[in-house]
């Protein structure tokens, strides 16, 4: 039986790895200039051609960002789901992404108005502050209500409030800022450069490694606080770690790509169904790969579906993510009778 489980895990990872490779190459090929696989490989191998810049300076950083941020987002979702023992918790529905968006917008307008262009590290910090503000409210509410649907509704409301404030400040911002901000606040992977990629890689992979090291207490936490505590988990410390890691991960995403919806719920659910387990040791790497695949796919559509017009990434993730979430909630309620 145990072997059967291992086979299942191996198959799951293989599927995700194959999808990831296919999408990486496809993303390099497709776009306003369609390139053949061979041409792409040649450019990557170092041959110079007229399209080198497209691959190296535009498509490659963008797809790496999409993959890493997508992975980060779904891992962040999985952390929140573990924390709240609620499979429909995620950074977007709980208003955490919107909180990050609000503070980033405020900070950007403030500094851009004074002619200062902020680096990506500063934006991550701003996004983190915003995440923690929303998170603070959510934690306060979760102390009062235990029902998961109420918690999610509260999160959506917090998200609306933050978005409203963001819209308000954007409306009164200088014209020059708006174009930039507008694109970003809708969610997009466009305009990534190598310096962005480097910064996000450091943040994302450090957090991912730390998250992976938490997989043991996370497993113990799945039966509830009482049992985690009885198994020797320092519950208070563990909860703080979960909150910090999930907030940093989603803040990083928001700082670079704006709010992206539903990835944080849909991907962990799909990954858990694929592996037929919720074991963090298996699911955390699975979520990262799955999130990468999901966002690469969605970004591909965002870029190419109505080219040359680019869709916001959030619209595409919503189209694929929201039905999965609905299906999942229906499935759960029927199963529970």
């Amino acid at each position: 039986m145990r072997q059967k489980r291992s086979v299942r895990y191996a198959i799951g990872y293989s599927i995700l790895a194959i999808l990831l490779c296919v999408l990486l190459i496809w993303n390099l090929n497709a776009g306003s200039v369609n390139l053949s696989v061979r041409e792409v490989l040649e450019i990557l191998a170092g041959h110079n051609s007229e399209n080198t810049a497209i691959i190296w300076e535009i498509r490659l950083p963008r797809l790496l960002a999409a993959a890493m941020l997508g992975g980060a987002l779904s891992v962040s979702g999985f952390l929140l789901q573990t924390f709240f023992a609620n499979p429909i918790a995620g950074p977007f529905v709980l208003g955490i992404s919107s909180g990050a968006k609000m503070v980033v917008a405020l900070v950007m307008i403030f500094f851009l108005g004074r002619g200062i262009v902020l680096g990506s590290a500063a934006l991550i910090v701003a996004a983190f502050v915003g995440s923690m503000i929303s998170m603070g409210f959510i934690l306060m509410i979760s102390g009062q209500v235990k029902k998961m649907s109420l918690l999610v509704i509260s999160g959506i409301m917090i998200g609306y409030i933050c978005s409203a404030i963001t819209d308000l400040v954007v409306t009164f911002a200088d014209d020059s800022n708006i174009v930039n901000l507008h694109n970003w606040s809708m969610g997009s992977f466009s305009g990534m450069n190598w310096s962005n990629v480097r910064t996000m890689a450091i943040v994302v992979f450090v957090c991912l490694a730390l998250t992976f090291l938490l997989s043991k207490p996370m497993g113990a936490y799945q039966l509830g606080e009482v049992y985690a505590q009885n198994l020797g988990v320092n519950v208070r410390l563990f909860r703080v770690q979960l909150i910090l890691l999930s907030s940093i991960l989603s803040a990083c995403v928001t700082a670079f790509a704006g709010p992206i919806s539903f990835v944080g719920i849909a991907v962990p659910h799909l990954v858990k169904s694929l592996f037929r387990t919720a074991k963090p040791l298996i699911v955390i790497p699975g979520c990262f790969l799955g999130g990468a695949v999901f966002c690469l796919f969605c970004d591909l559509l965002a870029r190419t579906a109505f080219a040359p017009t680019e869709l916001s990434i959030s619209s595409v993730t919503a189209i694929f993510g929201a039905p999965i979430v609905i299906w999942m909630m229906l499935h759960r309620s029927t199963r529970k009778g």
């Binding site: 039986m1 499979p87 043991k216 799945q222 039966l223 509830g224 049992y227 009885n230 198994l231 037929r276």
Partner: protein
């Protein structure tokens, strides 16, 4: 006698710095089962939570082998004490086997990977509790009773010295209740576990416990062996029983006796009367039971359900005085029902009563008896 493995000193427990229960002195030795009983909301779970470090005590200490639990490292504590509480978060995609495996957590390394030894322990625990066949089932898709057993297997494979159980038999049907408690008794004997648990079912508590603590109001009202604690009168007082009664010898519950003028005199004995007493109770017909020796099987039920019981001393033939008072009681009643077909040497008095009833045309026929049960509202 072995030394206590866990004992509390001047423990007070409660929430938000307000003590609910004070002066709690619990002490449990390896191989002993200590049970907390008391009405709903008495604070049994609060005490258990304080012993397992889920709740900080308001005052006093809980010691395991003379070390305050506050000073025991988390991992060590987890290897010493395991719990099974009521309620748990429903985990998604978790097999029963994985639930049991989580009990090995305090023994595994940084990533929680199980060794061959850990797997053996998991198998062993599942066999012990008879849940091996559930191993590959989803934990959310089995019955409550099965879940309870899986959780017990989880607690066992944690290899504790002390097992803390909060209402372990809730959700279980009678078969599984008995199985679980027998299993617990075996475990305690084999592994010399110390068990502290709370139980709703006082009849079961009486049979399984080595020591009982009764919680009432803000203190431990009484403690001792089940024989010392379980008297009918005390159980009535502890739980504030106003209607019905509890018989501590048999651990049985009886509802209220029907009220009003007795309508029927029931001649019973040897256990034959009990089904009739119960039928009359359900139909709400007050009755007098007689003549019963006070050591008769029927006697405890009759004294709980009858308006009056005419009795005789144990092992004495029924004497004139008893027959007189039975005759007088028969006068008050509209009819007489005889549950007996044979009369022994000590029981001749009841034969006399039967003859008298026949003479007075008071003896109910089967048809009259059935009609009586049907016509009463």
């Amino acid at each position: 006698m072995k030394e206590a493995i866990l004992h509390t000193a001047g423990l007070a427990v409660g929430y938000n710095k307000k003590a609910l229960i004070q002066d709690i002195e619990i002490s449990v030795r390896p191989g002993q089962i200590v049970t907390l009983i008391g009405p709903n909301g008495a604070g049994k779970s609060t005490i258990l939570k304080s012993i397992t470090r889920q709740l900080d005590p308001i005052a006093g200490t809980v010691n395991i082998r003379d070390t305050s639990i506050r000073h025991i490292p988390e991992r060590k504590f987890a290897q010493t004490v395991s719990v099974m509480m009521t309620g748990w978060t429903d985990p998604e995609w978790m097999l029963c086997e994985e639930v049991v495996e989580s009990g090995r957590f305090p023994y595994t390394g940084r990533l929680g990977l199980l060794s061959a030894h850990d797997r053996e322990k998991v198998q062993e625990a599942m066999e012990l509790v008879h849940v091996t066949e559930l191993a590959q089932r989803n934990f959310t898709q089995i019955s409550d009773g099965q879940r309870q057993r899986v959780m017990l297997a989880r607690a066992i494979c944690q290899e504790p010295d002390i097992l803390i159980l909060d209402e372990p038999t809730s959700f279980l049907d009678i078969r599984h209740k008995l199985e679980l408690l027998s299993l617990l008794k075996d475990l305690v004997r084999q592994k010399q576990l110390a068990v502290i648990m709370s139980l709703h079912e006082i009849d079961l508590a009486q049979k399984i416990s080595d020591y009982v603590l009764c919680i009432k109001g803000d203190h431990i009202d009484r403690c001792g062996t089940p024989e010392e604690v379980f008297t009918s009168a005390y159980i009535h007082e502890l739980y504030g029983v106003h209607r019905g009664s509890y018989n501590s010898l048999y651990g049985s519950l009886e509802l209220d006796a029907p009220k009003g003028q007795p309508k029927l005199f029931v001649i019973g004995g040897g256990g034959l009367g009990i089904p009739f007493y119960r039928k009359l109770q359900r139909a709400g017909i007050p009755f007098i039971a007689g003549i019963l020796h006070t050591n008769d099987l029927d006697y405890p039920v009759a004294s709980a359900l009858a308006a009056e019981v005419v009795t005789e001393q144990p092992f004495e033939p029924i004497r004139e005085a008893a027959i007189r008072s039975a005759e007088k009681a028969m006068q008050q009643c509209d009819g007489v029902l005889c549950c007996l077909e044979q009369f022994g040497t000590q029981n001749q008095g009841n034969r006399q009563l039967l003859e008298l009833a026949k003479q007075q045309h008071k003896l109910l026929t089967e048809i009259q008896w059935e009609a009586m049960l049907e016509t009463t509202p």
